[in-house]
Chain length 294, copies 4
């Protein structure tokens, strides 16, 4: 297919590379054009403006947040876009913005698909992302070959694009809650002289298998918060979005509120760019368990 790709961060670059590998013709755009260079060797065409990328059969975008999306995908861009193009937005954005973009695309005869992903850059490079897609089936059908080229599975979970964003935010909320919970458990255990590693062995070998508990648990046990696989600042962003999405439908989420407060505290103490696992440091600091901490 003849497609555009907007936003070449770690995730976007890896996804675009897989699209090229699958034989698609890809025009790429990024705010800082240097990030596009590695893709040129793989066959990408670097274009000068987002509008140049927003053309062809479809365009995928992977931008940082609402502000970045709004900055690029404005009225002018959409007006200039070819009728019938499918825009696949893979970013984790607010439900409100997703709903608004859906309207703005529809008004101009454009198709909008939300397709946020679960998985980190290594999964993106291996084309093993889990994709959560929502939007009109006919639109998703058209871009399914693209999604197949970058992920191991696409879940279609609704006709309203924003529903995919809701699901992504719910998943990230679960992640945030799990890390906060590990942090609180660690403070309880430390206070009683019980080893966090022993605890992790017991629970990950039993009721809580999987990478979240073993991975973040180990970081908390070792008080190791770098390199940041998922930055606290970005985790806070997503918890804010989950709370806003819940507020829209009048669903209180008290654990999300607690996690938001804890992440704000992490940022207040200069840990915003460190890994999410700093929630363990927040819990330890509250308990006065600061000896030995970096």
């Amino acid at each position: 297919m003849d497609i555009g790709f907007i936003g070449l961060g770690d995730m976007g670059s890896a996804i675009a590379a897989n699209l090229l590998k699958a034989g698609h013709r890809v025009r790429v755009w990024n705010r800082t054009p240097e990030r596009a260079q590695p893709l040129v060797a793989a066959g990408a065409q670097v274009v000068a403006t987002p509008a140049d990328a927003f053309a062809g059969d479809a365009v995928l975008s992977m931008l940082a947040d609402d502000a970045a999306v709004r900055d690029v995908v404005d009225a002018a861009l959409l007006e200039a876009a070819p009728r019938d193009i499918v825009h696949v937005n893979m970013a984790t954005i607010s439900v409100a913005l997703a709903a608004q973009l859906t309207r703005e695309h529809a008004e101009r005869g454009l198709h909008y698909v939300a397709a946020p992903v679960l998985g980190r850059p290594d999964a993106a490079r291996a084309a093993k992302l889990t994709i959560v897609a929502a939007g009109a089936s006919v639109a998703i059908d058209r871009v399914q070959p693209l999604l197949d080229a970058v992920g191991q599975k696409t879940w279609r979970i609704g006709a309203l694009p924003q529903q995919a964003n809701v699901m992504k935010l719910a998943a990230n909320f679960m992640l945030a809650s799990a890390v906060e919970t590990l942090g609180e458990a660690a403070a309880l255990l430390a206070g009683h002289g019980v080893g966090m590693r022993d605890f992790l062995d017991v629970v990950t070998g039993g009721p809580f298998p999987g990478p979240v508990y073993s991975g973040y648990g180990a970081m908390i046990a070792e008080r190791r918060y770098e390199p940041a696989l998922f930055k606290a600042r970005l985790g806070l962003k997503d918890v804010r979005l989950a709370l806003a999405a819940a507020d829209e439908v009048s669903a209180p989420m008290p654990v999300a509120s607690v996690v938001r407060d804890s992440l704000i505290e992490a940022v207040a103490h200069g840990d915003g760019e460190r890994d999410f696992a700093v929630l363990g440091r927040v819990a330890a600091r509250r308990a006065g368990q600061t000896a030995g901490d970096a």
Copy 2:
């Protein structure tokens, strides 16, 4: 070995049966003696008083809560116990009581081992419990054959018996937090018309594998709270104990506080004897999502 067993609820009966199966001589006592009958056929000797059971090489107890333990294991019982006996307390009790029992046993030359278990009655019947043991190594060594007969693995996590209770409470706190989190996520999703089952497929197939998320998640998705595998009332008891243990060492646990409040709300609405998964009902009720609920 020549042992006693006190407390024949679902868990205790299953454990005692496995001890008999392993060839140990077991004297059993239960407040309501009828519960002992099935074990007689397997070779158990029913005794008339707890003191009769608290004899031989070792005694295991599996009682409901602090009050039940305190009721049975009193000063008179301990005074009458044979010096050097090892008491293995498998119940989920408070850290404070565990510490006190440790002292009371030591003062009389008795050995106290805390060995709470992870696993439900089916795991107990299959001798596949995960055992978290703490206490003097020499005492645990002596009862290790007993623990091997009832569990698949014994984790030794400290010299102070109460440390095993702390770990058990931390594990149950994680469970409670996971169920509350699922409930809040379900309310968010429902508000936006996203299917909880789709969500569970995505997250249990990815970052959150394991029986907790799939099992409780399904109950929440189906608004099915019976039969109760883990009653809300007992979950509340354990969260209370976790908070008390954390308070002892001045560790705030805000998520545990939230879960405690939610479980109290479940009990207030008559759901105390239903499964823990009623945390999903609490979250739905708060969000005004009550249509279709039983």
Copy 3:
């Protein structure tokens, strides 16, 4: 002075009336012009557009929320405004918008003063508002006669206009917390059969005098939520703004998070247009104390 006034809700109308009474020449504008009629008899001149009102020596605005302000006070309006005019914004808006409006005014040589008020419509009618003003002293000096005509006291609390909004939001947070606290106390008391009125007598006669505890306390005691002096929906708006303002400076506010969740629950149950005191109903419902409730 020759002034404009934008926004003739209950508060705005009362304030504008007092400005007329004090002898100022007032051009008034409101989205629904009928609201302006009562002021015409008092000497107001009704104008056709916000720009017509945004003229003269100063303009006061009292609009509902960020969206209403942003809708009226746009770039075109500011471009057309006479240089050196002082704009006094009395609305309770976000700190972020206040900061942005400050910049937008300054860039065009206009003066921006934030002057949110404490007090209800009856206080506004009696010219007894408490005014919290912030901005450049020279600008406040110029409009002080106007503020004197509508309030009993003006507190000047900073050079940055947004600081007045922060203070107003902090005050409304205190109000929200007090009402939530009364609601929780009422549930505790009711559960034990203690009369809420007795309790109010004791505490308002002692440590907690003043209208907040006696007024909202009585509404909670009587389960009377109408007429709404301060709607739950608007209370929620202000708590959201307080949390956003705190997030900007990385200050966690866990009680504000709790109150936000409770107000969302009130809205979910259809009580958004009722008085703030419905926080008492939320607390009672959580405790299963619903008998006798309307």
Copy 4:
């Protein structure tokens, strides 16, 4: 009247002195007898055992907490007490213990009245306490002259003694919530450079008059936590008791849970013996606002 008095801390000593001043014959007992000396000059008779004091027409007790009460008021003491004596317990104890003491007294033909007080030692010395009494009217009638001698007003709020304890705990919860709220507001204001003193002037001059907001507010504004008028450790004790009382009747109190967590954090940081106002320090620390703090 011929009465006993047990417990001569700051509050108890002041109350006993007023009873002597009113002409009553008072036998006093305290664990550390030296504390009784100042009362001897005023006419008190020091007795050797609690049982000696638990005699005559009535006995008043003012002990520190549940453990202290339980330690002194045991089965032996009650067995030895003269039938028909009225025991007035003025301490802030748990609702559970109050209910149990009621039963234990009734079983032996003794009368139990709960009469916790609002007010600090200075109010006690001035005989200006506010007394919250509950129990059988006939019993309270008999000791009313004693209560009149030590307080300015007695509120009778129920026939069950524990109801007075519930009300006292609810009042202290309100206090704790107000201080936490002030602390959070202070962190919000500080983050935006708004003076806490200005804020206090505005709110205490308006919606929040009274000593709680002005007193604790000033301590928070000045980061002054000593001398401790109400120690954080004791505040934590009372919030725990309020939560336990609410749990008994299945009433969730999320703000109380937050305050409990904050007070635990204060204790974790060594501030347990400082004034309750250290809740302001907790809020500031969470927000990273530690510069200038002692």
